[in-house]
Symmetry: C2
Subunit: 445 residues, 2 copies
């Protein structure tokens, strides 16, 4: 099937590091390619000072599996470049993932060492997914982790994602999705709206006001097109004048004004007073302009109704990736017996063997411990009532399980995040630097 026959989704099979294919070639030749393997995704640490991370991208990983196919265009590139031999090309032409994937549900919070995703398959099938799985989880989780801090700081006020212009054009779409997983209410990104059913927002930039001969004609034009259910941007020229003109153009039923510059806390108070004095007590105030979780927190006492967040959320607010790795932790030996494996040298040791995980929650509903369980079989569930199992089946016998992909998957992930974050102590919500919110304990099953 060629890329064009698949419709709008080009193959994702070459979103891959070359070494995965060279390893595959050698393993096909020596017979180890068919060995059953367990690969594990985890991160050794959270970004400095962060108290928890948020898993995001799981649904996108599952969606990507169906477009991870080596079609003519991909095979031709590999053949012409002499990247792999004919035996490998033949394997790739027939590639599809037939293994099993378990992992944390999207939206779940995580900690250093949490076994976030476990891929069990032949070496050949599993090794090819390393780059794609990590690219998606590392970026999406970085955004969701930052988003969660922002929505936590914003309390009941909505956060709106407007940062697509500060990220790669397709990363922008994933960022909008991940921000919603982390609690954002909507996004300015239209493609994210189309793909994932997210609420899209946006009305006008300064360019719209500047395009017109004066501010009143710009406002009149916008109101003529969208009525008073719109947001007028009032800081192109003088703000007090802008607010007066906004209400003059739209009336006191105007939905909102937006402020995108200056000392937002101070200006918001002045604008609130002015709106109230003009009889526009129901007109909301949206603020934007380089907001991050700290700026949002500092505006808690200001009369602000929602936050437009750009750069900081799409770049993970100082932590643009999560540092997740995809490690072989267990494999069949030459006698067909599964054995744990681990790298032994210097600075990057990791724990071998398949692992499961559970969260210990006390009787008050408070999360108190992350329990990582070595030696657990796939599908392991804790016997103790105080432990909530964290691994859910995502792919069984190559079949993606339902509920994780598409717009339903995003809705469920956002809900999962609200629930999981609510289990953490208030300490975990502090923005200041600190240790992980709960300790991680390693036990054997």
């Amino acid at each position: 099937m060629s890329a064009s026959q698949r419709g709008t989704q080009p193959s994702m099979a070459l979103l891959t590091d070359r070494y995965e294919l060279t390893m595959l070639q050698a393993a096909l030749a020596d017979g180890t390619a068919s060995r059953r393997c367990v690969f594990e995704v985890f991160t050794r640490r959270l970004p400095a000072g962060r108290r928890y991370g948020v898993v995001a991208g799981t649904g996108r990983v599952l969606e990507a599996l169906s477009t991870f196919r080596f079609a003519d265009a991909e095979l031709e590139f590999l053949r012409e470049g002499g990247i792999v031999n004919d035996q490998t090309l033949e394997f790739l032409a027939n590639y599809r993932f037939t293994g099993e994937i378990y992992g944390y549900a999207e939206g779940e919070v995580f900690f250093p060492g949490s076994p976030l995703m476990t891929v069990e398959a032949s070496f050949a099938e599993g090794v090819l997914l390393e780059t794609l799985v990590l690219s998606i989880l590392n970026y999406d989780s970085a955004v969701a982790s930052a988003a969660s801090r922002m929505t936590s700081a914003a309390g009941t006020r909505p956060c709106l994602e407007m940062g697509g212009r500060r990220a790669h054009e397709y990363a922008a779409v994933a960022a909008a999705r991940a921000a919603v997983v982390g609690g954002f209410a909507g996004t300015s990104n239209l493609e994210a709206g189309r793909r994932y059913g997210l609420t899209t927002i946006g009305t006008a930039a300064h360019a719209f006001t500047l395009l017109h001969d004066d501010e009143p004609s710009a406002f009149a034009s916008q109101v003529a097109s969208f009525g008073d259910a719109t947001t007028l941007l009032v800081d192109t020229y003088d703000i007090a004048e802008g607010v007066r003109r906004a209400i003059a153009a739209a009336g006191t039923g105007l939905d909102a004004v937006r402020l995108d510059s200056g000392d937002l806390g101070m200006v918001a108070r002045e604008v609130r007073d002015q709106l109230d004095s003009l009889g526009a007590a129901g007109t909301k105030i949206v603020v934007s302009s380089d907001l991050d979780e700290h700026a949002i927190a500092s505006l808690a006492a200001a009369p602000v109704d929602s936050y437009g967040v750009g750069t900081s959320v799409v770049t993970g607010s100082g932590a643009p990736t999560c540092g997740m790795v995809y490690k072989l932790v267990q494999r069949e030996n030459s006698d067909g017996v599964m054995e744990p494996v681990q790298k032994a040298s210097a600075s990057k040791s990791s724990v071998g063997g398949r692992k499961a995980a559970a969260r210990r929650v006390d009787t008050a509903g408070r999360a108190v411990e992350e329990v990582v369980v070595s030696g657990a079989l796939a599908g392991w569930e804790p016997a103790e009532d105080s432990l909530r199992g964290l691994h859910v089946p995502l792919v069984l016998d190559g079949v993606v399980q339902s509920g994780f992909t598409g717009s339903d998957g995003v809705t469920r992930a956002a809900e999962r995040h609200r629930t999981s974050r609510a289990e953490l102590s208030p300490y975990a919500r502090r923005l200041s630097a600190g240790d992980p919110a709960i300790p991680t304990t390693h036990i054997a099953v």
Copy 2:
């Protein structure tokens, strides 16, 4: 034309912030949509302490123009969501960019306020490109700017991009391309190899060694498949033993060994001595493991032959975006006369009017000043011999000019970067924090 008829390239038209379409709708209704406008891309500042930035993504912007089309799928989403009215949908269905774009050649260095790209078109045509242009230039330039510092620190030793797993899966492809613009010699990313003709590299991960019953069988397998023209990863277990086994498996003609952990400088010296004593004086040493420009600089005296760089290059080494903005700086008024426009309020003032730029180069070939010229017409070229004009025509009458796109465009951009960076003083190459390498002067034509 539907997305599938276009083959592998889905439309990029919805990689757009919603407000661009709402502004368009209001401007179509009030007649200002056809006003001739000039939009300018620039950044107000470099990341803290950086001495120059590197323009990248220009070729990708030009490639994207041809897929920026609103086809059935996109129009249906906008109609069903009630995002814009029928008049706007009709305009979008027929949209194609017919204006002009001038800008810095890809690979050129830049400074705060440099007018990096100038888009001249009707408001309707120009406003729609804001998000796409910024997404591409902001990300790609962030990567190229970081890459340039790394290749500068590496001197004549090649840097290889291996960071795709730490970036969004398509950002990874753009990152590989931008890294090469910034002087990298190759990438592990296969899709970047396919799209842009980049050199791809990669041999094996620790998983390949762990897959096998022991290290000698892993090395034997790799050598059986790839001969001695390969790189053996020697730090899965004991490094000295790994090196001994590598040469035992491949012979003294082995191309390279890779070290991915530990104190790389110290270990590289030990491994170099060991290789030499084994008679493998020609076997090179590749190092990887969380390298950034500072780590590369600190390895200058170590016997290292090339650097594999991951996270830090794809995330812009602390500056994952450039903060570039796309501002309306000039537009036709109601009398059909072009006028400069600018935002007047508080903290984000900018200079109105169309601008060109030139770099002043002294008789020794040293760049000494960035000259931003207000009031210049499109295609302006400096009259003085000491000034090199920085704006090149990228799109004329809607037609993308040749030489900027595809793999040729990347090659030319990398060459342009080498030349432009070589004009900067040695001061500009310091990694320590400092001011922009040359001052920017604003003059009127």
